[in-house]
């Protein structure tokens, strides 16, 4: 039996009459790098927040390594890490202080922390800024230190919400390589992104969410074979499924007519 790292069963989130996430059921295997795609407001962040204990589901369950995060939050959280799209960190801690804080909470031995912290800071070119206050960091640097904080305790499951936004090309590449390597070594990554190339190149499997529903799920090959054309890129599939093609048609129409009367 395959080891399931993440399991969503009929996960639902509604705000009064608006249903943001509808009966979502999904499983992500251990070591899998799962890409979660969808247009703005499709329910990606809401889903991730429900999976990380930040937002209480209206219905259904969310399990991390078999533990329901809403029934046993502490046990489930011991296995996860989260990098939000807007990393609001403690402004008055230095990058190093922040890593120490996370390591203290996860009870990491000192020597392991030291080597891991040094390694991560090196990868993300933050070694020289580690002792600066986080309030002085740029958005990209905050993002990087948040990623370092998430990886410092070597989580079993890592959730990343738009992790490459704000990262410079070198750091984005480092993150991609690191994620691939970590997943190959058994970590599970669940990442939401708008950059379809990232999902196409890196992810083992992709799920597309639209208006709170999973409308496509599978490997790149599976998604291509389910479409009209086997040579389709992820962008084509995405636009086709989320209605972007209609907008493209309108744009072409406008261009052809020369004006937008």
């Amino acid at each position: 039996m395959e080891n399931k790292s993440i399991k969503l069963t009929n996960l639902t989130k509604s705000y009064r009459r608006h249903v943001a996430v509808k009966d979502l059921s999904l499983e992500v295997k251990q070591g899998e790098l799962f890409g979660f795609l969808g247009p703005n407001g499709a329910g990606k962040t809401t889903t991730i927040k429900m999976l990380t204990g930040l937002l209480e589901p209206t219905g259904g369950t969310a399990e991390i390594k078999g533990i329901d995060i809403w029934k046993s939050p502490i046990d489930a959280k011991k296995n996860i890490a989260y990098v939000p799209d807007q990393p609001n960190l403690y402004p008055k801690l230095t990058g190093w202080d922040y890593l120490e804080f996370v390591a203290s909470v996860f009870r990491i031995p000192k020597d392991r922390f030291q080597s891991k912290a040094d390694e991560l800071l090196q990868i993300f070119s933050l070694t020289d800024q580690a002792n600066d206050l986080i309030e002085s960091y740029s958005h990209g640097m905050k993002q990087k230190i948040a990623i370092c904080g998430a990886l410092i305790h070597e989580p079993d499951v890592l959730f990343l919400d738009e992790p490459t936004v704000g990262l410079d090309p070198k750091s984005a590449r480092s993150l991609k390589n690191l994620l691939r390597e970590l997943c190959d070594n058994g970590m599970t990554a669940f990442l939401s992104t708008h950059i379809l190339e990232i999902a196409e190149q890196m992810c083992d499997r992709v799920g597309i969410i639209f208006e709170g529903d999973i409308i496509a799920l599978g490997t790149m090959d599976e998604l291509r074979s389910s479409g009209e054309n086997a040579d389709q890129s992820l962008e084509d599939i995405f636009l086709e499924l989320t209605g972007g093609e209609d907008q493209q048609a309108i744009i072409s129409e406008i261009s052809d007519n020369g004006d937008a009367k």
Partner: protein, 586 residues
């Protein structure tokens, strides 16, 4: 250009009013009714005592009233001015548009009248007119009053602007976050000196001076001109003209002075402060001593400590001590050459009085510091939610640090005081130990109230509790102190002081008098059976303080587990105070 800017502000105001939720209108109505009642009482009071207000007394009241107007506008209007000048969200847009800086400045200046100055104006003009009607003042009285008061307000507001415009040029960009704190402290000292002026200039108390109709201020002071103008106008004398013109000209000079600093103080200052938020502080090279990892409870306290230590604004909570100390030394120095050594008295008297004062201060600080640890999470709240921490870990982590900070600060002060008064080592140690135990309870209560009424205002990080909760905390801290004080007295105060306590309770009324009364009763028990009372005292003290601390910390933990709502005050231009959203901890 000005018209367009003012029109825009007006539209923003209208849209803000229109988009308010219904409950806000209700709160406006309540505020209006409370304000109307206050004005009614004030007017009633003036009507009742109008006969006994002679002209010299009126001169004193008016001039001191004008001083209060200036003082309040500086003190309370300063943050508003800061917001208008440097943290209004529209400045980003306005400075990129082809609008002369001075136009933007004057729009902001006009905007500042809506707020504290307007409130002060109404609070002053209504009683002034009521008094005018009561004495049947000459018709001149009303327009002169109506023009003099705004002139005084302009002076106060201009001083608030000058404080901002000058200090922004002095304070380095790296201290941008602390700008508001430095300004509050300096303006606080300035206003304190302003209010102390009549006391400094005269040997007699202020109330006595006013009632005896003696001049409070020298004639060259502008507040005297304003009061002279109104008094002369009340009897229809043309003598009002010179002082009236003088105050109006002075107000114009102040406005002119403010306008000279617009370019350097406003635009460049705004740029400087905006740059300041992106400052880089090198804390030296990477630590060589190796990582310092702790138990999660300690780690939480440590990160709270860093937040406090590295932000000067967090220390503002201790500002009352500075003012208290400053006032104490200063008033001692100006009251007829009294020396500090004169305060030294028998330790049996200085020790218990100091203990009572320190406990009073602890009650003020501990709850406030503990409660603010919750709202401090603000936008970083997701970190604690994502980490495998229980509410208990978080609550105890916040408790120990919020207890320790005031304890260390006040213990240092107590040691200095103890040495000054010549207390014995036993007195010093026992006092510190007892307060250490008693104050944990206050911290526990404070934190629990923090979990039920957390509020975060990025522009005012000291303001971390909703108004009602803050009031509740104030009451709860002293009620707790009152009960916790019983075993404290049982344990520490020697039986020999029984007579002094009795005399003290007979002589003094109010809070301290009541406490002295309790002390006396307990000491009579202690005299009868000292060992039993001492043992009972220790047990009772531990039960009350540790028990209260534990219960409230566990309640906080439960609340954290259930989910805490931090009311986030939005610092936007359109909804300056009422717009808010919530951030949840669990």
């Amino acid at each position: 250009m000005m018209t367009a800017l003012l029109k825009n502000q007006w539209k923003i105001f209208l849209n803000t009013m229109r988009s308010q939720p219904g409950k806000n209108y209700l709160s406006y109505l309540v505020m209006f009714i409370v304000f109307a009642i206050l004005l009614y009482w004030l007017s009633e009071g003036i009507w009742a005592i109008g006969d006994s207000i002679t002209k010299p007394i009126l001169a004193g009241i008016l001039s001191y009233g004008f001083l209060l107007v200036i003082g309040f506008i500086i003190l309370l209007g300063l943050p508003q001015v800061f917001k208008h000048l440097y943290s209004a969200t529209d400045l980003n847009l306005l400075f990129t548009m082809p609008i002369p800086t001075r136009y933007i400045f004057w729009v902001k200046y006009v905007q500042s009248f809506a707020g504290i100055p307007l409130l002060v104006f109404i609070l002053y003009i209504v009683p002034l007119y009521v008094y005018g009607i009561f004495i049947g003042a000459n018709l001149l009285y009303y327009p002169v009053g109506l023009l003099t008061l705004p002139a005084v307000i302009v002076i106060g507001l201009s001083i608030a602007y000058l404080f901002n415009l000058v200090l922004v040029q002095i304070i380095p960009a790296s201290k941008a976050n602390e700008f508001m704190t430095v300004m509050s402290v300096l303006s606080g000292i300035f206003v304190y000196l302003l209010f102390m002026f009549p006391n400094m200039a005269n040997d007699r108390p202020l109330s006595e001076l006013i009632l005896s109709g003696l001049p409070l201020f020298p004639e060259w002071l502008p507040v005297t001109w304003a009061s002279e103008a109104i008094i002369a106008a009340s009897i229809g004398s043309i003598d009002f003209l010179v002082p009236f013109l003088m105050i109006v000209v002075l107000a114009a000079i102040f406005m002119l002075l403010t306008s000279t600093l617009v370019e350097k103080g406003f635009r460049t200052g705004w740029v400087k402060l905006s740059e300041g938020s992106g400052k880089r502080r090198k804390k030296g090279i990477t630590k060589k001593s190796g990582p310092k990892l702790h138990h999660p409870v300690i780690a939480i306290g440590k990160k709270e400590w860093y937040a406090v230590k590295r932000d000067m604004r967090e220390w503002l909570v201790f500002l009352p001590i500075v003012f208290f100390g400053f006032g104490f030394v200063f008033s001692g120095a100006v009251s007829g050459g009294m020396e500090l050594s004169d305060l030294r008295g028998p330790t049996e008297v200085t020790w218990p009085i100091t203990q009572a004062i320190l406990l009073f201060i602890y009650a003020m600080f501990n709850g406030q510091i503990a409660s603010s640890t919750i709202a401090r999470e603000a936008k970083s709240v997701w970190i604690l939610r994502i980490l495998p921490l229980s509410g208990k870990d978080i609550a105890f982590g916040k408790l120990w640090i919020s207890w320790l900070i005031p304890f260390v600060v006040l213990t240092l002060i107590e040691i200095v005081i103890g040495i000054f008064f010549g207390w014995t080592a036993l007195q010093l140690i026992s006092g510190i130990a007892m307060k250490a135990v008693i104050t944990v309870g206050i911290s526990g209560i404070g934190m629990w109230l923090g979990t039920i009424g957390a509020k975060y205002n990025p522009a005012n990080p000291q303001n971390r509790l909703k108004f009602g909760t803050a009031f509740l905390l104030f009451i709860a801290s002293y009620v707790y102190l009152f009960f916790a004080l019983i075993p404290y007295v049982l344990l520490l105060i020697p039986v020999e002081t029984m007579t002094s306590a009795q005399e003290f309770s007979n002589e003094i009324d109010g809070f301290f008098g009541t406490i002295a009364g309790i002390v006396y009763t307990v000491l009579t028990w202690k005299e009868a059976s000292p060992i039993i009372v001492t043992v009972a005292g220790i047990l009772l003290m531990l039960i009350i303080s540790i028990g209260v601390a534990y219960i409230f910390t566990m309640l906080s933990a439960r609340k954290i587990d259930q989910g805490i709502e931090i009311e986030m005050v939005q610092n936007t231009n359109s909804k300056p105070l009422l717009g808010k959203k919530s951030s949840r901890l669990y």
